[in-house]
Amino acid sequence: MSPKTDTFGGRQAQSSDLVQGTLEMLILKTLELEPMHGYGVGLRIEQISGGVFRVNPGSLLPALSRMERAGNVTSAWQATENHRRAKYYSLTARGRKALCTETEKWQLRIGAIAQILEA
């Protein structure tokens, strides 16, 4: 089993990669489901996308930091189920709203692109 490659590999992104916006939307969505620590977010994204999206700490942590600064998520240190300390991220009201508008935009765009691909 080879190490997983990163779907959201920052600057060196391949043209087929989706960039920051999509990643942030995925994180928002993941945290909407339940608050989680960093590793859990990455894992959950991989799970819910059925392994299509993979995200490494190099993309995930900067994205979380950026979103925290933008006020879309907050973080707190909490004990994990196996009694270690981990930084838990959760969605703020602002983040919930952001997820809504981002989702709408995404739907719109997806529709537009589909139209082009079908045309």
Binding site: H37, G38, N56, P62, R66, N82, R85, A86
Partner: protein
């Protein structure tokens, strides 16, 4: 408030980098542990799981770096880092950095200094409520007492009775107030005790008379106590109250808060101190030496020690008026016109009423045309503004150009440096540094330079402003201008520095960006550096040509101003301008009554003549040339004036040896002698222009002249004709008629008007005020400055109370009258020399760089047998080309721009061929010298060395 959280979090992160780091480390650790645990759970051996987790995470530092860069404070952090790198780079070439900072400091400092003055003289509004509503009635810059004119005409003078009417009925104005057109210096003494017995210290300070509503219409409040109120200014002689300026209170009274209610004598009369104004308030008139004390106009006779000018129909006009418009008249043109028309109608009515009796249709029409224009006074009424305003604007342009030249130099230097660092830049790009980062580095360096330059510039500006204000004030100890920059000035400096930085940092930054796009480390770096000629060179060379062009403009300007000043100084003034010392005194302030003057004058003349090195001595009311005038209408026997003919003549009352002392040649007849005294026939000397105008056949001598003023009516027999002199502004070349009368022949008492009682003849107030002589003139054999000490002690030996208000040589007196010309000339010469130096430095830098760049090419040429002369010629040709392009741009530029200063010229055309040729020659000489130095270096290139280097 999201941004606020973001900001505070960022600042916290900047202040506690350790905590952020630890936090991140812990998070990464937990991430790693989770990852390993997860892999182990899904059946991977622990060792492999750990390895894979580590691989997934990649470089721990890189992750940390990415988290860090996702936050704004990382931007700041890397900016600081850029600043550190730039600082190191700049310190590595201290010579260049010093030159760069010096030229920036001078450039920005010059701009700031001139702006400081412009801000104070031209921009700053009065510190009062709604200054934009204030309107002066006519241009009220001049000061004095006028008579025989219509109210509001020629300088906006009004009599007291009319001012009172306006005060009572301001029509569409919110209020109309009056103030004395001049601030007379008075002797103040704080008595300390209500009974007046005191040993308090005496001060000389300017006192201004103001109407009871002056402060309320002006919209100014007192800092302590109260301002003058209408009740204080009700009737002549009542209302002995005084309001002090902050400056006087602070400097002379040690900010004594208990001053209110105390008594202070002004020229001997006790006044109650009722208030102190706020700091920075100088009244509506922005004089160089602003008033320190305000008293009601009702106290005019006591304050000015001059017979009452408050009698209705006295014909003495000495007040200026201003009004406060309603806000709607400020914004609405129709409302404004309504106010203007109301004022004009009131003035016309007043004129008609004053004339009395039936008026001719012609006069009716004339009155109907008279108008008193409303002049915006929100920034105060300032003689300095009209005198120096244009000069300051020109200088602002000049210093801005100098700064541009300095910027061009810096731009070139940074370009050259960027080119030298091209390889380094490319390496950095190849190593993954973003082009943005390199551009930013380049801009940071520029801003670092411009900000440091701006800081130094502020210091330069402070010193320069002090010097400039000193120049403008001409020795007045306190003036209403400050060299301390206010917020507006600081903002100006900041913006100027930023703009300058952007200006000279932009080209190198763009250059760096271009390297980022096109550069690749694989390409032949050396070719790019040595051969990649034209493109790389285009910028520096065009900048140098532009510098040459702008320098030419500045040189031409300086040349024109220099020649103007020369012309002003070297014109025929009609009197001698060497060996003459002038002293201003005030016999009235020292307490002399007119009938005591003949004895005093006699004593002064004797004592002063005895000073060694003094050839002759004279007294006069006014010096041969000054800002003031004493004038009146005259009439001449045997001369019938035409309709509307101007019969005005300037007057001066002088003692015996005036003409010899002032050095004014007598062209016909004789000057005055000691025999021209009260016992003999009254005589007068007139100037050429007067004689020629009234007696074109040359028969003026012996004719009788009458002055339209009771105190000096005459008739006077003309016994001599003196050469014309410049009496006022040296720019004013229109001939002026002039009448001189002997001081000794002016009666100390006024003629008793028919019908008045004999009692008046002995009362002090009816003494003849036109007997005073305010000027002492000393013609010396040597340097007149040497006689000042002896003059002081001689005057003190007669009466220690006789003040010597101002002592100047005639040369200084003339130069004071052309001080704004001197200011512009001195500064534009200074700045154009600086510009020339900077442009020469610029050319030198660019050519030196070219020579260094083409070292190997020159080496090859020399090795192939080219002579030194050829090489020197080759390099010089380039300099010549730049010079040529610069001149081709500069001459039309100068021709266009000098038109703007046409009004400032005196005795020459702004398209002065001599000035232009000289400027071109100086510029060519300097440029060629600057180009020759690198050329000579090129010729000394050792071919072997150059080739080996390659």
């Amino acid at each position: 408030m999201q941004w606020l959280d973001n900001l505070t979090n960022g600042i916290r992160a900047l202040l506690q980098p350790g905590r952020v780091e630890r936090d991140l480390d812990e998070e990464l650790d937990s991430f790693l542990t989770d990852s390993i645990e997860h892999k182990v759970r899904s059946g991977m051996p622990e060792k492999a799981a750990r390895r894979e987790a580590l691989v997934e995470m990649g470089s721990r530092n890189s992750v940390k770096h990415q988290v860090w860069s996702s936050r704004w404070e990382s931007m700041l952090d890397s900016l600081l880092q850029d600043a550190r790198i730039s600082m190191r780079g700049l310190l590595r070439s201290p010579g260049y950095t010093a030159v760069a900072l010096l030229s920036l400091a001078l450039g920005i400092g010059g701009n700031t200094a001139i702006f400081t003055l412009i801000n104070q003289v031209l921009l700053r509004p009065l510190p009062v409520r709604h200054p934009e509503q204030l309107m002066a009635f006519a241009n009220s810059e001049s000061a004095g007492i006028a008579g025989g004119i219509d109210p509001g005409q020629i300088g906006g003078y009004f009599p007291w009775d009319m001012a009172k009417q306006f005060e009572a009925d301001p029509g569409p104005f919110q209020g109309i107030a009056a103030y004395g057109s001049f601030s007379d210096t008075a002797s103040l003494r704080l008595t300390g005790h209500a009974d007046g017995s005191t040993d308090g210290q005496a001060f000389l300070a300017p006192v201004n008379l103001v109407s009871g509503n002056y402060f309320s219409v002006l919209g100014a409040d007192a800092l302590l106590g109260r301002t003058i109120l209408p009740a204080d200014d009700a009737a002549p002689g009542s209302g002995a109250v005084a309001v002090l300026s902050y400056h006087f209170w602070h400097e002379s009274l040690a900010s004594d808060r208990n001053i209110i209610g105390k008594t202070m004598t002004i020229n001997g009369t006790p006044f109650e101190v009722i208030g102190v104004m706020r700091e920075g308030f100088h009244g509506i008139k922005q004089d160089i030496a602003p008033p320190d004390v305000w008293t009601p106009i009702s106290m005019q006779a006591q304050v000015l020690q001059f017979p009452s000018m408050l009698i209705p129909h006295s014909g003495l006009y000495f007040l200026h008026l201003f009004g406060r418009l309603t806000q709607s008249a400020v914004t609405n043109k129709a409302d404004f016109l309504h106010s203007q028309n109301w004022l004009d109608n009131r003035v016309r009515d007043a004129i008609r009423e004053r004339e009395g009796g039936p008026l001719s249709t012609e006069r009716q029409q004339e009155i109907g045309r008279e108008t008193v224009p409303l002049v915006p006074a929100g920034r105060g009424i300032s003689m300095i503004r009209s005198e120096y305003g244009d000069s300051l604007k020109i200088l602002m342009g000049v210093v801005a150009l100098v700064l541009l030249i300095a910027c061009a130099n810096l731009s070139n230097f940074l370009l050259a440096r960027a080119a030298r660092r091209r390889q380094e830049t490319m390496t950095r790009l190849a190593l993954g540094s973003s082009a943005m980062r390199i551009v930013r580095q380049s801009l940071v360096e520029a801003f670092l330079l411009s900000m440091s330059g701006g800081m130094l510039g502020l210091a330069v500006a402070f010193a320069a402003t002090r010097a400039l204000i000193g120049f403008v004030s001409q020795g007045d100890s306190y003036i209403a201008m400050q060299s301390v920059p206010d917020l507006k000035v600081l903002a100006f400096t900041l913006i100027t520095s930023l703009l300058a930085g952007l200006l000279f940092g932009l080209a190198p930054a763009i250059g760096a960006a271009r390297t980022g796009v096109h550069g690749s480390i694989g390409s032949n770096v050396r070719t790019a550096l040595s051969g990649g000629g034209r493109r790389v060179n285009f910028w520096p060379k065009s900048l140098v040509s532009a510098q040459v062009a702008v320098s030419l403009l500045l040189l031409v300007l300086a040349g024109l101003f220099l020649r103007t000043l020369r012309n002003l100084q070297n014109q025929d003034y009609g009197f001698e301008r060497t060996h003459l010392l002038l002293a201003q005194t005030s016999e009235r302030l020292a307490g002399y009554a007119p009938h005591q003057l003949p004895a005093l004058h006699q004593q002064l003349l004797q004592r002063l003549s005895a000073i060694p090195g003094v050839r002759s001595v004279a007294l006069a009311q006014m010096p041969p040339i000054s800002n003031g005038t004493w004038s009146s209408n005259i009439s001449l026997s045997g001369y019938t004036p035409g309709p509307n003919e101007n019969l005005g003549s300037d007057l001066n009352r002088v003692s015996g040896a005036y003409f010899e002392t002032a050095g004014i040649p007598i062209l016909a007849g004789r000057g005055f002698t000691e025999a021209d005294n009260a016992n003999n026939l009254k005589v007068a000397v007139v100037n050429e222009t007067l004689a020629r105008h009234f007696f074109p056949h040359g028969d003026a001598l012996g004719k009788m002249l009458t002055i339209d003023m009771d105190s000096v009516r005459g008739p006077w027999q003309i016994v001599g004709i003196a050469k014309d002199t410049r009496t006022g502004s040296p720019r004013d070349t229109d001939p002026v008629t002039m009448t001189y009368i002997p001081l000794a022949q002016i009666a100390p008492y006024l003629p008793v008007p028919a019908g008045s009682s004999a009692r008046a003849a002995t009362s002090g107030l009816d003494e003849n005020q036109n007997c005073y002589a305010n000027t002492l003139l000393l013609r010396t054999t040597g340097d007149p400055g040497q006689a000042i000490g002896a003059l002081r002690s001689a005057v003190a030996s007669i009466d220690p109370n006789l003040p010597l208000l101002q002592i100047t040589t005639i040369r200084e007196q003339v130069s004071n009258l052309i001080s704004h010309d001197e200011l512009v000339t001195t500064l534009s010469s200074l700045f154009s020399s600086l510009a020339l130096l900077l442009a020469a430095l610029g050319l030198y830098g660019v050519m030196s760089y070219n020579v260094a760049r083409r070292n190997s090419e020159i080496g090859i040429r020399l090795a192939l047998g080219a002579g030194t002369a050829t090489v020197v010629g080759m390099i010089l040709r380039e300099s010549l080309l730049l010079l040529g392009v610069g001149l081709a741009l500069g001459v039309p530029l100068a021709l266009l721009s000098t038109r703007l200063v046409k009004d400032q010229m005196f005795g020459l055309n702004p398209v002065d061929p001599f000035t232009f040729s000289l400027a071109v020659l100086v510029l060519a000489g300097t440029t060629l010298f600057a180009g020759w130095l690198p050329a000579r270096r090129a010729a000394k290139v050792d071919p072997m060395q150059a080739l080996r280097c390659d």
